[in-house]
Subunit: 150 residues, 2 copies
DNA sequence: AGCAGCCGCTTGGTATACCTAGCACCACGA
DNA sequence: TCGTGGTGCTAGGTATACCAAGCGGCTGCT
């Protein structure tokens, strides 16, 4: 069922884990999930249960919704993302530009930041593409908006 | 893990199902989940996966968030990080601002990027300060995010 | 009395989420 | 050169989510 969906979720998790500078074992220690299993999740071999997903989200300090939505378990995407989608497209250049212009960063730090940033954008585009291929049919009453944080 | 949580979730589902005037088999037919399994879920014997949960939610026309939150798989308040970001909003450095305004990053990615950026800046300031105080041996190792595991 | 058709539930099995033990590789210090 | 300790991954087993088949208990109809 939506195999590549899980795969891209795994990749996303791996990205986030590396960003948090954690090894598989460290993450396993925090999430109480064995490190081989985490490895398999990240490679899309197994589909983790929601409980595992949540503990991963907690450990990586990312919202569980994000993960659920990525696999199609939640059809309502968090409001921030929707809003972000609606915003102007070419502000991507702005981030790169402002990073390069920043006075306090060293050259290495700049390129590190840029690398991270680009990997994010690439991952998101991938995820968005796959999400667009199999859109969940919303039930007529299902569009309940839980909360608007801003 | 939180057994009674699942139990009460089952009771809730049963209530909702009866409210929708459906039999187990009818619900099973819609959700593509076998009726005995549904029965066991409603009695709290088994913990359904998120996928099953979602299809039940869809069939009963209730939001999936509701069910997830009921079992503790969603914190019911995902806005934490966003608000944290907002709280720390000091005199908006250009990089920070452009990151926040970026159209393609998710909220988590933004806060992750910001975390990295701030750690860089903090490290640089620290390094500069120490270099000014004791110009002998600079600790060459501030915030080295560029580990390379692969 | 029958038997039809619904109901929820039990039983026994299969698929798979998840585990422990251990392997191969790489960097670093003695 | 050899550990020692870190990384991610493979192999094989256990636990459990999930299924198909079938049972006993209604209710209603003839």
């Amino acid at each position: 069922m939506a195999d590549d969906r899980w795969k891209s979720l795994g990749e996303f998790i791996r990205t986030q884990r590396r960003l948090a500078d954690m090894s598989l074992r460290q993450l396993a220690n925090v999430t109480k999930v064995s490190n081989p299993y985490l490895s398999q999740i990240e490679r899309g071999i197994y589909k983790p249960s929601a409980e595992v997903l949540k503990s991963i989200a907690d450990a990586l300090k990312i919202s569980a919704e994000n993960l659920y939505a990525r696999v199609g378990l939640l059809d309502a995407r968090p409001a921030e993302e929707v809003e972000a989608d609606r915003a102007v497209r070419d502000q991507a250049a702005d981030v790169e530009r402002s990073i390069r212009l920043d006075a306090e960063l060293s050259a290495e730090q700049k390129s590190a930041l840029l690398r991270v940033y680009r990997s994010f954008v690439a991952a998101d585009r991938e995820a968005a593409k796959q999400a667009a291929e199999a859109p969940a049919k919303p039930s007529k009453q299902g569009a309940k908006k839980t909360k608007r944080p801003t």
